[in-house]
Symmetry: C2
Subunit: 299 residues, 2 copies
DNA sequence: TTCTCCGCATCAGAATTTGCAATTAGCCTT
DNA sequence: AAGGCTAATTGCAAATTCTGATGCGGAGAA
């Protein structure tokens, strides 16, 4: 006997209100007229007041009915909205995606990317693991992550890539060495003390390849894995090192370090998005790539 | 099989979401656990996607569930709101009230009054009939209207009154007669030509009584029932007449008419709210009086 | 007036839905 | 391996909702 107000009753209420006839409302709702009568009656009992005045020839809203009708309509609208939202979510890809990140998050445009991803694919959840290029590569190969970022060239055959941008690298000198090295050639530069880079840092491969290509094998002063640490050691005059162009120029501006040949690029490396080659046609990977292309303004 | 989404299902959805357990939700809802399972299942089928992930030890919202939950909560909130509004309307007096109005609507403060009435008693509908004091009195006595406004004193024994304000009346003179009559006494004034007032106008009784009390019986020039007509005739120099103070002063300001003795009140009459004495204790009448008192700033 | 039509209310029975108790199944902890 | 926790399933009982038939009352037409 004690049954709460339900949506189907509100729908009947609204339909009767706009038709002015129980019979016509019943037809519209694919119901029998007694069913409509009963639903209206139930609502009137629930509300403790009549919603319609019965006239021969139809019904008409009471003042109370007029006041309550808009609320009922709102509920119905919200209900339709909810169902519509559910329907639009039906086709959406869903699942958890693990992404390996490296270096400075801002350089990966990871904020805008995830925002766009969330907006376009609300059912996808992203989990990030921070590391360095090598570890990201390994995890992509082992499939413990779905994709990631990589700084360097041609990582591996069974890993596909989407190049995002080129990062330039400069050689940074301590102010004390500026006079003798600022415009030196590679041969001279090779004789100076260099700050070694841990193999776990993105810079390791870059530096290694640079040395090999210039055919030098400098003296290594320790091994470090943080760009910030390198920076401090350069400032302190311990040795020279390779830095990302953006970082280098920022600190060169106030004179705390000096750039070799005024900041001429020593080498470049592509920043790439990498994923297992087997998943080239995976819709989730396609989704990730599409939104990355948009964020990075790629074709 | 094809059953629409219903409020009780949404309530279960929300409860399960905030409890994290079907069992606990069932307890809160005074339902059995299978019932909750079935309702969630029905919703998931309706939405075409799972709302919860089942874990040993409880359930957790899926991403889709998280997105749809706020909408469900909104619907429930609106539903509660609707029921609450209905409950607050339950005790409200309802019905149609017929009110007789007279003269200028603004002078009765009818706008503010009906606005207040509508705000405080939303189920009351008001119907107004415009007329003159005498007809309003008759209709109140015949009970074809529930109450009305009356300009004058002590209308009738079986009619109760609520005095609202005093309206003052001036004698208005044509500019041509100003020199000889502006400060004349009643005796001289009684010799001037007066504009007669139709017995259906509020001014009729007022004028009649004024003449009687001053013991004069002037020459009547026609009989008119609109204040606006009187005004034109005064301007045209046809005769003198009694006008409501506010009207008189407004037109005296630009010199188109002149006020006897600078606007000294010739007489006053109460503006009253009248209703059948038998309904003194009728709650509807009490309601009307209460809101009138508030609008007119009466005790 | 009398008749007919139209629309709502009522009722009994049928169909559907909802709910419950008992049980099963899966996972975790001990 | 056993016990405890939670959700899913199943069969059956209860409640509800729906329908078709019927009754009632007012409005309009003959």
């Amino acid at each position: 006997m004690i049954g709460g107000m339900e949506i189907y009753q509100l729908r009947t209420f609204v339909t009767v209100a706009q038709q002015g006839h129980l019979t016509q409302a019943a037809e519209l709702l694919h119901l029998s007229q007694p069913a409509v009568t009963a639903q209206i009656k139930a609502l009137e009992e629930e509300f403790g007041m009549p919603l319609f005045e019965r006239y021969p020839g139809g019904v008409q809203l009471t003042e109370a009915g007029k006041l309550l009708l808009p609320d009922a309509e709102n509920i119905l609208a919200l209900g339709r909205n909810l169902l519509h939202k559910a329907k639009s979510l039906q086709g959406e890809p869903r699942g958890k995606v693990r992404i390996g990140t490296i270096g400075v998050a801002a350089r990966l445009k990871i904020g805008p990317w995830l925002a766009l991803l969330r907006q376009r694919h609300p059912l996808i959840t992203v989990e990030t693991t921070h590391g360095v290029s090598v570890s990201v590569l390994n995890e992509v190969r082992k499939k413990t992550i779905d994709a990631g970022f990589y700084l360097g060239r041609n990582p591996y055959q069974n890993v596909n890539t989407l190049p995002l941008s080129e990062v330039g690298f400069c050689v940074a000198l301590p102010p004390q060495m500026a006079v003798e090295l600022a415009n030196a050639d590679w041969k001279v530069l090779g004789k100076a003390p260099w700050l070694g880079v841990s193999q776990f840092s993105s810079l390791a491969d870059i530096t290694q390849e640079l040395w090999r290509s210039q055919n030098i094998a400098p003296l290594k002063v320790g091994e470090f894995d943080e760009e910030a640490t390198l920076l401090e050691l350069i400032k302190a005059g311990v040795g020279v090192a390779v830095l990302a162009e953006r970082t280098a120029r920022r600190y060169a501006a106030d004179g705390s370090i000096v750039l070799w040949r005024g900041g001429e690029l020593a080498t470049r490396a592509p920043l790439q998005f990498i994923y297992s080659a087997e998943r080239e046609n995976d819709p989730v990977i396609g989704m990730l790539k599409a939104s990355l292309r948009q964020v990075w303004d790629l074709p």
